[in-house]
């Protein structure tokens, strides 16, 4: 542990010397896959945003006379069991899947940063309570936690908001742990000591001086949490407790079409491949960012 914590300090210093441009250049040179992935992600976001202009159909528009059709020029990925255009639903589903991938990790990031900083900086009882809370969250089976949360909140909010909250609540603990351990090592750093001696307030030290040094690890952690949230949503939907019809998400589409795996494989393949592509892209990007930003997390 000691050795790796020392690494962080060195890295933090190197990080300051190394400009953003230089890092990007390194990223392109070392890891072209990460760059391609970034483009894929941007492309998917654009496609999702422009969905209404890319397809003549509406998301939930049914055509009971054109059910379960094979791919054709009118429906390039065919139609589902209620005659809805699968391509359209993939485009709109991308919105849901992306939002579920992007927002919950952001919420857990915020919670995790605040609690992790507090635990690391104040230590003592605060640290003990926060870390035990994190332990509880981490040892509680996360799928069950999500299920119970979704059922509990089901009557107050729609399913997507429930998934946000559930995934965010399940995810903050690991962020808090990383932030705490970095805070612990930075707390004793010379410049923090210096700030403290001239009477800079505690919160200011935490957010002005300690937090910025955690940012590289957090960016990486965030990028890697995105695909895991997308996968969690698809798992929840597979169990029938995720996004609920008639809304579309990729996980839900796989769930609804898994029975047609033999007879109409394109129905299940289209959303499955979509999930794989976006998750792979985020993983490649996260990997690439980790290599240039944060060797500390390399072995996580």
């Amino acid at each position: 542990m000691m050795a790796t914590e020392a690494n962080v300090n060195i890295n933090a210093e190197i990080g300051e010397k190394d400009g953003v441009k230089a890092k990007l250049r390194r990223l392109c040179r070392q890891n072209p896959l990460a760059v391609i992935s970034a483009f894929v992600i941007v492309a998917v976001i654009i496609l999702a945003a422009c969905a209404p202009f890319l397809t003549p159909y509406r998301e939930a528009q049914q055509d009971l006379l054109a059910r379960l059709q094979k791919p054709s020029s009118a429906h390039i990925f065919g139609t589902d069991e209620l005659g809805r255009d699968v391509f359209t639903r993939i485009l709109y589903g991308a919105r849901v899947s992306l939002v579920i991938g992007i927002i919950p990790p952001a919420i857990s990031l915020v919670i995790g940063i605040v609690l992790g900083l507090a635990a690391g900086f104040f230590g003592g009882k605060v640290d003990y309570v926060i870390m035990r809370l994190a332990d509880i969250m981490l040892s509680f089976p996360s799928l069950l936690l999500t299920m119970v949360l979704m059922y509990t909140m089901g009557r107050y909010a729609n399913s997507i908001v429930c998934i946000f909250a559930a995934l965010a609540l399940a995810g903050w603990a690991s962020v808090a742990r990383v932030v705490r351990s970095q805070t612990l090592s930075l707390k004793e750093a010379d410049y923090v000591e210096a700030a403290r001696s001239i009477g800079v307030g505690k919160w200011k030290i935490m957010f002005r001086h300690i937090l910025p040094n955690c940012i590289p690890s957090l960016i990486v952690l965030y990028t890697l949490n995105v695909p895991s949230c997308i996968l969690s949503e698809s798992t929840l939907s597979f169990l029938g407790i995720g996004v609920q019809p008639p809304a579309a998400s990729w996980g839900l589409m796989v769930n609804q079409s898994k029975q047609f795996l033999f007879s109409m494989p394109w129905l299940a393949l289209a959303p499955s491949v979509a999930i794989m592509i976006i998750v792979l892209a985020f993983n490649f990007l996260g990997d690439g960012l980790r290599d240039v930003l944060d060797p500390y997390l390399q072995t996580r």
């Binding site: 035990r132 089976p141 069950l144 698809s234 597979f238 794989m276």
Partner: protein
């Protein structure tokens, strides 16, 4: 040893917290086991009578304390829906989960370590690139897709394996691969990066300078040190697999812990849910402990400190 003891003690508040958490959540969750039991049949008299018979009319705090008291005596209560002692139900399901978890872990370890080592040795050359892309694909595929695809191609199209579990070892192979798939990917990546890091360190240079062969250096020195974080990860993975794998269990019809727990949530079967969650939490905590312990035993620095 002090670390281990400290960790053991810190289990107590975590367990209490988990129990309280389930209790609070089940208190605000809408729905009750009586309506599930009655399903389409409805009559207020029957509902009232059952609620009373199942002690659900008692104040909630009283229900909770009598439950905690029972747990302290080793009694996890009786399932509302299955009408049997929760301990029996869990102990009946657990062997299936253990069998699945052990086989999945073995698969993940063997495949993960092998590809990880090969990738590290051939760093930045084609085998490395191929294996690392594959392992990233391994962690990027939803587990149910792996499960359904394995089942469809290897059990249905080519009849190499039984479609669903019949308890035999052979029928557990596909589920084990499905469950171990993602873990194999992360072990491979971890092994590679850890091994590369070690191989760049000074003492490896020294060993090579002394004229030891590359193979001897890798397997004699580097691997031993590189395994530290990997072994920790393995222990954590095993314990999380032991706490149940709902999807693998559903696709391959394995009567394990994961399905028990999800059924319990859906049925609002409070004793069964609390029982399974307590049980799996203990397993996860024990797994963390084991990981810490292994780390302490294997890492010379920590051993010296202790």
């Amino acid at each position: 040893m002090k670390r281990v003891l400290k960790r053991l003690l810190s289990m107590i508040p975590v367990l209490l917290g988990v129990m309280l958490l389930i209790f609070i959540m089940l208190r605000i969750i809408p729905g009750d086991p009586v309506s599930i039991l009655l399903g389409e049949h409805y009559s207020q008299d029957t509902i009232d009578r059952l609620t009373k018979a199942m002690n659900l009319d008692k104040p909630l705090m009283q229900q909770f304390f009598s439950y905690v008291l029972g747990v302290l005596h080793g009694d996890l209560g009786v399932s509302y829906i299955m009408k049997r002692p929760v301990t029996d139900i869990i102990l009946q399901a657990f062997p299936h989960t253990v069998k699945l978890a052990v086989m999945a872990a073995l698969f993940a370890w063997v495949i993960g370590l092998l590809t990880g080592i090969v990738a590290a040795v051939t760093q930045n050359r084609p085998p490395d690139r191929i294996f690392m892309t594959l392992s990233l694909a391994g962690v990027s595929v939803p587990i149910f897709m792996v499960a359904l695809a394995l089942q469809y191609f290897l059990a249905f199209k080519v009849k190499l394996f039984p479609l669903t579990s019949d308890g035999s070892l052979k029928s557990m192979i596909l589920p084990a691969i499905a469950l171990g798939w993602n873990s194999a990917g992360s072990i491979a990546r971890m092994t590679r990066s850890s091994l590369i890091e070690v191989m760049q360190s000074d003492y490896i240079d020294t060993a090579r300078a002394k004229g030891l062969r590359r193979g001897a250096v890798i397997f004699g020195h580097a691997l031993k040190n590189a395994m530290l974080p990997v072994i920790t990860m393995m222990a954590l993975q095993l314990s999380s697999m032991m706490s149940g794998a709902v999807i693998t269990e559903s696709v391959f019809s394995i009567p394990g812990i994961g399905r028990l727990a999800t059924d319990a949530v859906q049925n609002r079967d409070m004793p069964l849910l609390q029982g399974t969650i307590l049980f799996t939490t203990v397993i996860v905590i024990l797994g963390n402990l084991l990981a810490d312990f292994l780390y302490a035993v294997l890492d010379p620095r920590i051993r010296r400190e202790a």
